[in-house]
Amino acid sequence: MKKIYMIVIVLPLLLLAGCDALVSTMDKPAAMERTGTFKIVLKDKSGYLQKVYGSNVVSNAEVTLKSSTLGTEIDAESDSSGTVTVTGALSDQYLIAANRELSANEMLKATGTASVNYKLTNKDVGLITLDASSNSPIQIDMNAALGSSPLVLSELYVCGPSGAGNYYHDKYIEVYNNSDSVLYLDKILVAIVYVNSSLGISYVDDPNYVHTANIWMFPGNGKDYPIKPGQYVVCAEDAIDHRISAPNSIDLSKADFEFYKDDAPDVDNPAVPNMIKIFQSSGNDWAPAAEKGAIVLAQMSADSLISFSNQYLIPIDKVLDGVEYLDDVTQLSKKILTPKIDIGGTGGIQFYTGKSMERKIITKNGKQRLKDDNNSTLDFQVYQHPSPGYHNN
């Protein structure tokens, strides 16, 4: 009979050994999803509104919230007390873009100079949490900033075409002049942000520099390559008609620039000016990652780049624009580009689907602009087809 007792004792141990994980008990939450009312309070930290109106309340600001999980967007405007009230929203992390234009008259009263293209924006906090179990209002500090960068990355097409196997040579980026003045691309740097996925290394938390192991530069000596207001410039991996090899692809033979790697068996279209390779540690061609990665434009002398291990460092304040794209856009925790440049992430595109990421068009002060709130989750849209040299809209 003792053997029976032993069996009865041993059996539960065998059972426990077979269990993969014991589920931790949780208490039943008191709050219910989507039933909370969230309040976001906008405060001006620049002191401009205090000087002009005697209050740091930011009224009439345009606020956009985007759920990082569901992707749903909420547009709202702050009321006279600077408060934005949101009801029925899902508890989630939200990317927030809050902007209030500062008129020349307001700038005159605040600074003594009637400056234009200034705004109050949420430079420091771009990601907030709305939690239905919390009733506390969320304060967002607003700071004065210049309007958007005059030169922006307007489109990234990196996934490869559909229906052509593993063909990936038709990648390109597109640069756009988002200002009212002629700009020059000469010596502007194009860099792919460094990440080592297999080792889990990224420098997203570096407060001062963007790390890169892939830097190219626009040719020219100062004013050789102008870009007019509203002009798109296409920089192609290979400036050829890709439809010959991939019927669903595009004709890039008339691209404005080409990434030609002269130390590798790369394609060169002599009719298209070549980008200048500063440094590329590996690969036979310029080829940003297809599903997730980040690209920046920077304005600085290539000679001033700081060498670091097998990388180069670009000071964050030299970056004109940057865009990150993710395979799973709900996973912003896996970003590799500092939020100081891009707080969000566009993408959600798989290999060889022919899809492209393009900035949204907005109208500002009666003028057509590409959206640039340094939040590619909100600024970009995914389209079914690439649009080199023009906008899908």
């Binding site: 269990c19 014991l22 931790s24 039943k28 508890s91 060889y352």
Partner: protein, 507 residues
């Protein structure tokens, strides 16, 4: 060591390395009469393994070949259009000595979910809102084995002790792109005790623990040229749609329960058994292989109980009474925030009364009537969808068993049931003014709010072969047909359930 103990220990050890959900059993619509009349003890009423010696099977080797096919559009969204099962199992009971009995079984099972939309989570008919699938409809199959071992012993003439283990593993495959795979492991363990107060009355208790793991893997098919959209559900609407080819999901489910059992028998005139208890089920769902993050937590606290009794006012007449209830209180928690995603509380009560008359040694027949009542109150806070339903299912059935000759007998039963749901409601606060018909998963709600008729017919012929054993065939046909206008004309759900059983006198 005694040889029988060695055999037992080897069996138990092998059980701990295998697994399964339950082996299929033939459909039986009756709870008080015919085959059910032998199941009035704490082994069946309360599932107490200490009462294994009262289990009704004989000390023979049972070889069962089972087939189950359920098909039709009268179903929930999460249910496949066709649910098919093939199974072969072997089971047997053996008295080790006058005090101990052992019963073991082993089965091989293949489950097919044909024409299933989106879902790849195997048990998507549960109330757990955290489910996963992809945009490609198609057939999934799950191949697995099931093992069960039960042991019961009498101690000091007054005490009973028993344990049982059920273990099931299977691997799943969606047969169409993106070819996700899955594996499941299910362990159910029970420890039961009993005390014989006197020769009529005995009471006991049973503690149950079950552990279930599901792992879904979307990484095996690297067909880059076709796009995959993953669906991650948290509620009836607003699934997370993710363009992604690689994903892993782990779902861990623990279920703890305990029951008090009691059974009574008085000179074959009255017998009865009851059980009462409760438990808690907890499920945690996580995604990602390398850096798992929560997709949600689900919990159900439940109470269950029931009575099964038989009275013989005269020797050839049985009056049976059956009552069973369960009260569920379930809720789910957001993966990242301390808020409720859903909540559902529903009671269910089943009452049946039957009578069986033994006309002669060759013929006995019976009738049974019953009512099944439930009251659903579902609140999907994530999707802001709230629905209610109060279905009442009334049934009446009759059956007869006739011994045609010394070796051949047949059981024939028929059952008719009507389900009528009242207090139906549907509110969608995110999309006011819309109806349930605008919801992709509308059938998950309509199914509970439907009026329908059910007809079931069973035939069970048995043939005894004196020196060999017995051959028994169970065949059941079930037809469920909705009556509401909310379902298209001609919609139904049909089931064929068949088992071929061989009993061999090999012990």
């Amino acid at each position: 060591m005694n040889k029988k103990y060695i055999t037992f220990a080897v069996l138990l050890f092998s059980v701990s390395y295998n697994y399964g959900q339950q082996l299929k059993e033939p459909t039986d619509f009756f709870n008080t009469i015919l085959q059910s009349r032998n199941e009035i003890n704490s082994y069946y009423v309360g599932g107490n393994p200490a009462y294994l010696k009262y289990e009704s099977s004989l000390e023979e080797l049972y070889i069962n070949s089972g087939y189950y096919n359920e098909t039709g559009d009268f179903k929930k969204f999460t249910t496949p259009k066709t649910d098919r099962l093939y199974e072969i199992s072997f089971s047997g009971k053996k008295s080790i000595d006058s005090q101990q009995v052992f019963r073991g079984s082993f089965g091989v099972q293949k489950v097919e979910y044909r024409d299933r939309d989106i879902m790849f989570s195997k048990n998507a008919d549960s109330w757990n809102p955290f489910m996963m699938g992809d945009s490609v409809p198609g057939t999934s199959r799950f191949n697995g084995i099931i093992m069960k071992a039960e042991y019961g012993a009498s101690l000091f003439n007054k005490y009973l002790l028993g344990v049982s283990f059920n273990y099931n593993v299977d691997d799943g495959l969606k047969k169409v792109f993106p070819h996700p795979v899955s594996d499941h492991r299910y362990i159910d363990a029970r420890l039961g005790i009993g005390y014989l107060l006197n020769e009529n009355l005995t009471f006991g208790g049973v503690a149950c623990l079950s552990d279930h793991m599901e792992h879904i893997d979307y990484s095996t098919d690297q067909g880059y040229t076709t796009e995959t959209i993953l669906y991650k559900f948290r509620g009836y609407a607003n699934p997370l749609l993710i363009n992604k080819k690689e994903e892993a999901r782990y779902s861990y489910d623990n279920n703890y329960s305990g029951y008090f059992t009691l059974s009574y028998k008085n000179n074959s005139m009255v017998s009865g058994a009851l059980y009462f208890g409760g438990g808690i089920e907890q499920t945690s769902t996580k995604d990602d292989d390398n850096n798992p993050y929560s997709q949600g937590y689900f919990e159900n606290t439940y109470y269950k109980g029931g009575v099964n009794a038989a009275v013989y006012p005269v020797s050839n007449l049985l009056i049976g009474l059956y009552y069973d209830f369960e009260i569920n209180n379930m809720w789910a928690r957001s993966p990242a925030y301390n808020v409720r995603e859903m909540e559902n509380s529903y009671p269910e009560h089943i009452v049946k009364i039957g009578a069986e008359y033994t006309a002669s040694e060759k013929l006995h027949f019976g009738v049974e009537a019953g009512v099944d009542y439930a009251d659903y109150d579902y609140k999907d806070y994530y999707s802001q969808i709230y629905w209610k339903a109060r279905p009442v299912k009334t049934s009446i059935g009759a059956g007869a068993e006739y011994k045609i000759c010394a070796n051949f007998s047949a059981l024939l039963t028929a059952d008719y049931a009507h389900n009528s749901s009242s207090d139906n409601s549907y509110i969608n606060n995110l999309q006011p003014g819309t109806s349930v018909n605008d919801l992709m998963r509308k059938n998950d709600i309509l199914y509970y709010q439907s009026n329908y008729n059910q007809i079931a017919v069973s035939v069970v012929p048995s043939y005894y072969i004196n020196s060999f054993g017995l051959i028994k065939l169970y065949v059941t046909y079930i037809n469920n047909k909705p009556q509401n206008d909310i379902w298209p004309d001609g919609v139904k759900r049909e089931t064929i359930d068949a088992d071929l059983e061989f009993r061999l006198n090999v012990f």
